[in-house]
Assembly symmetry: C2
Homo-oligomer: 395 residues x 2
C-alpha cells in the first residue's frame, strides 16, 4: 500500500469574470492562499509542483511550468504541467500524492488556473473543443453542451428522467452557491425560472441556460505531505483515503452507453477499494456538474443511488445540504463556476474545509468524517476520484 498522505493546505481565488487579473496572478493568489492555510510552511518548502492548465484563452499554450514557476517564485523547483481537460487539477493532485507517497517529495503542490474571459465566448468555446475529439466531433460543430444533451436525452429516454429533475439540480446548486463567498453566481433561482428558461432559447435540447455551467476565471491549489509529519503543518490534517482514475474513449460516439461515464465508474471503484470504504460511508461529495445531467449521472456512477434514480433523488432533496448525501454544497460547477483546470483542486478545497468544520456558511451538520471529489474531463473521457477522511486510514 502507498505511504499515507494528508492535505495540509488548500487555496482558491474568487471565481467569476475577473478581467483585471491574469492567469499567473490568479494562480499565485490560490497558491499563496494554500500556503498561508498551513502552519509553519513557506513557499520554499515545497519540493515538487504539478500545475494544471489547459491553455484556454489565447495565451501561452505550452511549456507553462517555467512561466508560472517564475511568477510564483518557485524556480528552480521541479514543475510538471499536467493536462487532462476539465479534470486537469484533479490529476495534478493524484500526481502530487504519488510524489509524496514515493518519497520524491516531502511537500508537493497541486494547482490549476484558467482564464476564460480574455477572448470572445465563441472563440473560447471553439478552443474548448480541443477537450472533445477534434477530428471527429468538435470540428463538426458539436459543443460540450451538445454532447451532454445527448447524455440527457438518453437518460430521459431510458430512465424517465424529467426536465424537473434536471431543474432540481440547478435550483439546489444555485441555492448552495449563495453560501459560498467565492462563487460566481450567488443568486438563487426558482424552478419556475428554470422552466421559463426553455422558452428563451435552448442551449442544446433538453438543456437550457440553467443546465449549463458558466465560463469562469479562477485558480485553486492544494498542498500535501506525508501523514506522519502532517501535524507539523496543520492542526487538522485531512487524510487521503483513496485515489482512483479511469479513462474512456475521447469520442462520445465510441461509447457503449451514454447514460453512465465508464471513466468515472472505474475511477470510483479504484478509489473505494484503496480507501476500504463504500459509497454508503461518504457523507459529502463534490461532483463534476458541468451540466445538470452530469450531476445526476455522477451520483449514480459513484454508487450513491441506483442506476436511473439520480434524477428522482435530486428532486426529492436527497442531495441537498440536509439530504442523505449533500452534493456540491459550494454551488458546484453550475453556480460556483468552472475555470476548467482549476475545478479539481477547488472541489478538494471544499471537501477539506467541510471535513475540518471550517466551511462557514457552507458547513454541513453534523461535521462529516468522509468526503469525496469527482472530477471529469471531456464528455467523460477521463475521471479522477478522491476520498478524504478526518481520521488517518487504518491500513
Amino acid at each position: 500500500m502507498p505511504e499515507k498522505v494528508a492535505v495540509i493546505g488548500v487555496g482558491q481565488t474568487q471565481f467569476g469574470q475577473l478581467y483585471e487579473k491574469d492567469r499567473t496572478k490568479l494562480l499565485a493568489e490560490a497558491v499563496l492562499d494554500a500556503v498561508s492555510d498551513c502552519n509553519n510552511l513557506e513557499l520554499k518548502d515545497i519540493n515538487e509542483v504539478f500545475i494544471g492548465f489547459t491553455g484556454l484563452g489565447g495565451t501561452q499554450l505550452g511549456n507553462v511550468s517555467g512561466w508560472f514557476g517564475d511568477y510564483l517564485n518557485l524556480l528552480p523547483k521541479p514543475i510538471h504541467r499536467v493536462e487532462n481537460a476539465c479534470a486537469t487539477s484533479g490529476y495534478a493532485f493524484r500526481c502530487a500524492l504519488m510524489a509524496v507517497a514515493s518519497g520524491y517529495a516531502d511537500i508537493a503542490l497541486a494547482c490549476g488556473t484558467e482564464k476564460m474571459h480574455d477572448i470572445g465566448t465563441s472563440q473560447v468555446l471553439f478552443e474548448m473543443g480541443r477537450g472533445g475529439d477534434s477530428d471527429w466531433e468538435s470540428n463538426f460543430g458539436i459543443t460540450f453542451a451538445g454532447m451532454y444533451a445527448l447524455v440527457a436525452q438518453r437518460h430521459m429516454h431510458v430512465y424517465k428522467t424529467t426536465k424537473q429533475m434536471l431543474g432540481a439540480v440547478a435550483v439546489k446548486n444555485h441555492k448552495n452557491a449563495v453560501n459560498n463567498p467565492l462563487a460566481q453566481f450567488r443568486r438563487p433561482i426558482t424552478m419556475e425560472q428554470y422552466m421559463q428558461a426553455d422558452l428563451t432559447g435552448m442551449v442544446a435540447q433538453p438543456l437550457n441556460i440553467y443546465d449549463c455551467c458558466p465560463l469562469t476565471d479562477g485558480a485553486s491549489a492544494a498542498i500535501v505531505t506525508r501523514a506522519d509529519i502532517a501535524k507539523k503543518f496543520t492542526d487538522a490534517p485531512i487524510y487521503v483515503l483513496g485515489s482512483g482514475a479511469g479513462t474512456d474513449s475521447l469520442a462520445t460516439f465510441r461509447r457503449d452507453d451514454l447514460t453512465s461515464l465508464r471513466a468515472a465508474v472505474e475511477a470510483s471503484k479504484m478509489a473505494y477499494k484503496m480507501a476500504g470504504v463504500g459509497p454508503e460511508k461518504v457523507q459529502i461529495a463534490e461532483v463534476h456538474d458541468c451540466f445538470t445531467i452530469a450531476e445526476i449521472v455522477a451520483t449514480e456512477d459513484l454508487g450513491f443511488f441506483k442506476k436511473g434514480e439520480g434524477g428522482k433523488m435530486a428532486l426529492e432533496g436527497q442531495t441537498a445540504v440536509d439530504g442523505r448525501i449533500p452534493v456540491n454544497v459550494d454551488g458546484g460547477l453550475k453556480a460556483k463556476g468552472h475555470p476548467v483546470a482549476a475545478t479539481g483542486c477547488s472541489q478538494i478545497r471544499t471537501i477539506v474545509k467541510e471535513l475540518r468544520g471550517e466551511a462557514e456558511k457552507m458547513q454541513i451538520s453534523p461535521q462529516p468524517e468522509i468526503g469525496l471529489t469527482h472530477n471529469v474531463g471531456g464528455s467523460g473521457t477521463v475521471s479522477v476520484v478522491h476520498i478524504f477522511g478526518r481520521k488517518p486510514p487504518s491500513k
Copy 2:
C-alpha cells in the same frame, strides 16, 4: 529514500519523415515495442500511464489521454497527459517513477509521440513557438534557433568557443547516427561540409543547418517497475539511481546567464545527489543537443567538463564513442532526430540498451555501468536528468 525502481522495457519507432503513420499509430508501435522488450508482460499488466504529447501538427491539442488510450487498448486505466515542451517524455518518465515508488502502480508506462510533418514547416515552427514565451518572445518572431544562437554567441564571446567546436559536435553526431538503424539521418558529414554550410545560408548566426536538429516524426516508450520484482519481467533490469528536475524562467531574456542552463544544472545536482554518484562516474550520456551549442553547454552543466571547455573537449574527441565520456552515441537530437515529446524516452532507451550491452553497432566498449540522460524543454526552461545503473542502488 524512495523505493527502488527499475526499467524493464524500452521501445522506439523509426525516427524520420513518416508521412504514412499517424501519431497514434507511432505511439502504439513504440509502446508495443517496449512491452515486447519485457518478459512475461502484457499491455493489460500496466497500471498507470503517462503520455507525453505537445500537440504539434494540427490535430488533437488537448485531452489526449483517452484518444491515445483508446487506440492503444489501454482503457480504462489511469492515463495522464504530461507536457513540458521538448522535455515532455523525460518528465513523463519521472512521473512513472513516482507512480511505482509510491505504490500506486506496480507497472508504469512513460511514453511520448510527435508528428511534425503533417503540416508545413513554417506552421510547425510557429506552433513550436508555444514552447517559448509566446507573449514576449515567440510572437515577435524569434525561433528556437534564434534563442540558441544567442547562447552560442555568448558562449563564443566569453569562452572563445569556435565554429569548429560547434562543427565537431555535428560531425560526431552524424557519424554516430550511422550506427543507429532508427535514426533520421544516417549519413556522415565532414568538417568541410559543415563549414561550407555557412555559405549556403545561416539558420541563425552562428548556427547553420548542420547545427540544428531536424523536424521529426516518432514515438518512444519506457516501462518501469519496483526493483525487487524487476527480474520477473527482464533478465537485465536497469536500475534508476537518480532522478532530478529543475525549472528556469520561460523567457530567455529573463535569465542571468546565457552560457549555462540553470534548470539543467539544478536537475543534475538533484539526480547526482539521489544517485550518490558524481559526474566522474558517468560512463555514457545522452544529452539534449537540439543545437550543437546545446550539447557543449550540456556537457559543462552536467559537470563532465569545466565551464567553458565543452567545445574544446568536443573538438578533441572526448565525447566521441571512444572518448572520455561518449555523448549521444545514437546520433542525438541532431542526427537521430527530435520528435519533441518522444525525445526523453528515446534517450532513456539508448542508455538502457547500452547498459544491457544490447546496443549492437552503437554499443560502446567496455559495456558501461552507469549512464545518464539529460532532457531540456524550451530554451532551457525545464530540464530533467536521470541516472541509470546496471547494479541496484546500494542505499
